[in-house]
């Protein structure tokens, strides 16, 4: 375990853990402005210490930068798994091989198309791997969970959960190196 921090930081770490673990809004985690308001300007230090505590539990504090056209860059912080799940663990969480493969295909396909792809194109590529009814149900599930989003023109995009949970560069590299 890390060395015990000063009492003031201990309070901030506990508060940060509450903010990050308990879902209070549509999205889990907390935004940088919310953390700054609650923990003070040195909120990053508190998050760093919380991250050290979580390391032993195979968890981590993860930052996702959000686009901010003007002013200070914004981020959203989440607590996520530091390592990875085994296939059996993923199955216990309700994810079948088909669901995971479909999600991988959808994310990679949209990524290589520059972050946006027509739903029909994504469905077509998924239908090469999965039965038709599973493709439609799968896409609905990915959208509901926040991995993908869809606009009115029927284009699919990567949504907040993909940015928070999926290491896209690793995913791409693993795909290209697979079987070499």
């Amino acid at each position: 375990m890390p060395r015990k921090p000063k009492a003031v930081y201990l309070r901030k770490i506990r508060r940060a853990a509450h903010l990050l673990f308990f879902r209070r809004h549509r999205l889990p985690g907390a935004s940088s402005s919310e953390l700054k308001r609650t923990l003070g300007p040195d909120y990053r230090k508190a998050l760093e210490l919380l991250d050290k505590y979580l390391k032993d539990l195979d968890l981590q504090v993860y930052e996702v930068k959000e686009p901010a056209p003007e002013g200070e860059a914004r981020s959203r912080f989440y607590i996520r798994l530091r390592g990875v799940l085994t296939p059996t663990e993923a199955k216990y969480c309700g994810w079948r091989i088909d669901d995971l493969a479909g999600l991988a295909v959808a994310i990679l396909f949209i990524t290589v198309r520059g972050g946006r792809a027509p739903r029909q194109d994504v469905e077509k590529v998924l239908e090469e791997k999965l039965p038709g009814w599973r493709v439609k149900a799968g896409l609905q599930r990915y959208i509901r969970a926040g991995y993908l989003s869809e606009d009115e023109q029927g284009n699919l995009y990567l949504d907040w959960r993909t940015w928070a949970e999926v290491d896209q560069k690793a995913l791409m590299d693993l795909l290209l190196k697979y079987g070499e």
């Binding site: 798994l81 799940l85 995971l100 493969a101 396909f109 290589v112 079987g179």
Partner: protein, 263 residues
């Protein structure tokens, strides 16, 4: 007359410039397939001809269109310079060549699920209280059900569980077995020993038809419908014209069919 013609031709050229820029914006044309320099030269060459407000607005629209092309060219370069850029063709080929198991394995190695705890919030409590307040007493609701005879709740189509898929495949196997020698009457196939089971079979059969696992032949003059199993299912082509056939199944219909079968 000649001058008016030349102004009209100029407008037409400007409209073509605007149209090309729009196609770039909509992703139909590669931004680098457009020569920005020559578009600007056209706009510059035509500018002295514009006197009316309408023509000047057209000129502004063309300049704005060209600036959009430049913006898309910038985005294109930025996209390719990021660490995530890989040749799309290569990635798509790789996606096609790998099995579901391999893709799931790759995904699991780059997936770090978010940890979160859900709990009651004042907002959700407020919603629950409102729902409870508006809920009729159980006795009233049961009375309503009796008055309306029977209500069967169908599973929403988007919730497809493993059990559902297993059930669907079993029904497909059954259809294949029962249509070995041709086809079967739709009502003979879906009819079961209870109304609920019949409705369920009709619901599942509609999935088999929609996803190309079965074919429905409708003979309007004979007022008959037949089902045929498809050995090699293929989803309907995008270009194919698809139609929806609503088939009503009331409790009375079921009772009548059941009695006819027994007789």
């Amino acid at each position: 007359m000649g001058k008016r013609d030349s102004v009209e031709r100029g407008r037409e050229r400007l409209r073509r410039v605007i149209n090309l820029c729009r196609r770039v914006e909509q992703g139909e044309v590669d931004p680098f397939a457009v020569e920005v320099g020559s578009l600007l030269a056209i706009i510059r060459e035509l500018f002295p001809n514009w006197k009316s407000l309408e023509d000047l607005c057209l000129d502004v629209e063309a300049v704005e269109g060209v600036s959009t092309v430049v913006k898309h060219q910038g985005e294109w370069v930025r996209g390719r310079s990021t660490k995530l850029y890989r040749d799309p063709f290569l990635i798509e080929e790789k996606l096609r060549s790998l099995s579901k198991e391999a893709l799931a394995e790759i995904f699991l190695r780059s997936w770090h699920p978010v940890v979160e705890l859900e709990q009651l919030t004042p907002h959700s409590l407020e919603n629950a209280l409102r729902y409870w307040g508006e809920l009729k007493p159980l006795a009233d609701r049961l009375l309503g059900l009796q008055a309306e005879a029977r209500v069967v709740e169908a599973e929403p189509p988007q919730i497809l569980t493993e059990d559902f898929e297993r059930e669907l495949l079993a029904l497909w196997e059954e259809l294949k077995e029962r249509t070995k020698e041709g086809k079967i009457r739709y009502w003979d196939f879906i009819l079961a020993d209870s109304y609920e089971k019949t409705a369920r079979r009709a619901y599942l059969t509609s999935f088999l038809i929609t996803y190309g696992y079965a074919r429905l032949e409708v003979r309007p003059f004979e007022e008959e419908m037949y089902l045929m199993a498809v050995e090699e299912p293929s989803p309907p082509a995008e270009s194919a014209r698809t139609i929806s056939i609503p088939i009503a199944l009331s409790f009375e219909d079921w009772r009548r069919l059941r009695n006819a079968q027994k007789a």
